[in-house]
């Protein structure tokens, strides 16, 4: 089976982002970028399925600027076989990403798509579900366990009250939650090998789908700042303050 894994290049999760003074967005120039953490988990899962003999080929896909090639090289170093960059300088919204991925699915005919549950920049948590809808496929979102059979995949999902299990006919879309696995560290020889793997670049326009944004960002602002308060010297003082000053207990 072939697995398609969409990976997004985002501002690294350790960076404390700064809002631009003109309210047009957050500062992304000269800040560290890396693969969206949930997508690393998705690549890892695909690689494990391949190592277990359930999967023959892993194709990593990214939509974005040329710099996303770096992210794809990371996926290749982790164990993806081949990569595709859908190049565009426009920031794509989840519906557009889902449409572009649906067009790639038509070309590549994978049996499974494993995406991240959420990109940590837009925090949208939409793309995998939208892709499944556009393809008419089943979806297993927020996965913490994936068991791939020949014509079905069983997915354990993290839900608000605990966990839930669903069984999906293949082909299907899975989106990863944090506890699905722990992504491997990439070893140097694999980084070298990844440089020789195939990475195709296609222009987003070639896919022939509508990528126009539907949402306009009018403004981006700092959230209300929380002021640090006081240090208390003892547990007794803490309880006294909570009772008489904050009046919350």
């Amino acid at each position: 089976m072939k697995v398609l894994v969409p990976v997004k290049r985002v501002v690294d999760y350790n960076v404390k982002v700064r809002v631009k003074a003109d309210g047009s967005g957050v500062e992304t120039a000269n800040v560290k970028h890396s693969m969206n953490p949930f997508d690393e988990i998705a690549v890892e899962e695909a690689v494990r399925l391949k190592e277990a003999g359930r999967v023959e080929e892993i194709v990593a896909v990214s939509l974005g600027e040329q710099s996303s090639q770096e992210t794809l090289r990371t996926a290749l170093a982790m164990g993806a076989d081949r990569a595709i960059l859908v190049a565009t300088d426009e920031a794509l919204q989840p519906l557009a990403v889902a449409k572009a991925l649906a067009a790639l699915v038509e070309r590549e005919q994978p049996g499974l798509v494993i995406a991240g549950k959420q990109a940590i920049d837009d925090d949208a948590n939409q793309t995998a579900q939208m892709l499944a809808a556009l393809l008419g496929w089943g979806q297993g979102t927020f996965a913490c366990g994936v068991e791939l059979g020949d014509d079905a995949v069983t997915v354990s999902r993290e839900v608000d009250g605990g966990t839930q299990t669903v069984r999906l006919k293949l082909p299907a879309v899975v989106s990863t939650d944090l506890r699905l696995n722990e992504p491997r560290y990439v070893k140097l020889p694999n980084i070298m090998k990844a440089k020789k793997k195939q990475l195709d670049v296609i222009d987003a326009g070639e896919l022939g789908v509508d990528l126009a944004p539907r949402l306009t960002t009018l403004n981006v602002a700092e959230p209300p700042k929380r002021q640090g308060g006081v240090k208390v010297a003892s547990v007794a003082e803490l309880v006294e303050k909570l009772r008489n000053e904050a009046k919350v207990i």
Partner: protein, 314 residues
Amino acid sequence: MANVLIIAEHDNAALGQGTLSTVTAAAEIGGDVDVLVAGHDCRSVADAAAALPGVARVLHSEAPHYEHPTAEDMAALVTELARGYSHVLAPASTFGKNFLPRVAAGLDVAMVSDIVGVESADTFRRPIYAGNAIATVQSQDAIKVVSVRATGFDPAATEGGSAAVESLEAMPHADIAEFVDESLTSSDRPELTAAEIVVSGGRGLGSGENFQLIERIADRLGAAVGASRAAVDAGFVPNDYQVGQTGKIVAPKLYIAVGISGAIQHLAGMKDSKVVVAINKDEEAPIFEIADYGLVADLFEALPELESELDKTG
């Protein structure tokens, strides 16, 4: 004029808290509000929805496959219905997040996730970058599909309304996805996202057994118990305890963080709490930068002491 459809979250017995906040968001958008209750043997939920003030109509759809509805089945029902509305709203819980994007794609419209504010009928505020920025976004689509973050809106009153309940025919079950089973954490404590007080533990607790120290405080305060991701990853507590960017978003009256360093991703889930207390042995821990009351102490001494202090009077 706006014409809002709310998809109720429930367990076939009672309406979920998030639904009440969603009703408040709908009221801010304005216009008529209908509520869809799809479930199995869930008449009591439909009646509860009918009692919500401001609700015009409750659409009650019954089917065995709506007992634990798949996203595929929910989306099929809602997408059809949505064409008659200007807005489709659901709580931004794992329930709403699962099927709403499917609805949006089916309608060929964008979705606005996790709103915390309504500026106008087409413009909403939502956090991005783990809450480190708030974006104001405007939708150009004819139907706005929106998930509502419960902490952004006060829960609506649960009585005062008298909407009509109409039954709505179920859609056939889509056999591309089957519900298999569910294991829900049971607890006598209040639900994390609805609790007035939350006591959370982090990696500093050191073990699942030590979480009893947290639980004893929670029980004295009638509080819910939460955790950092590190505590969940280490297996101290189940995953549904996780507070943060990718866990639950809470905004209680009082949040007590014990043995939690205060990573951005954790703060994203609790920094809208009214009063924050941090107990940490490292005085440099970032959690102190946002805590109203900080106690630099070893939690293994501080928690038992807190317990007896709370027992004193009050």
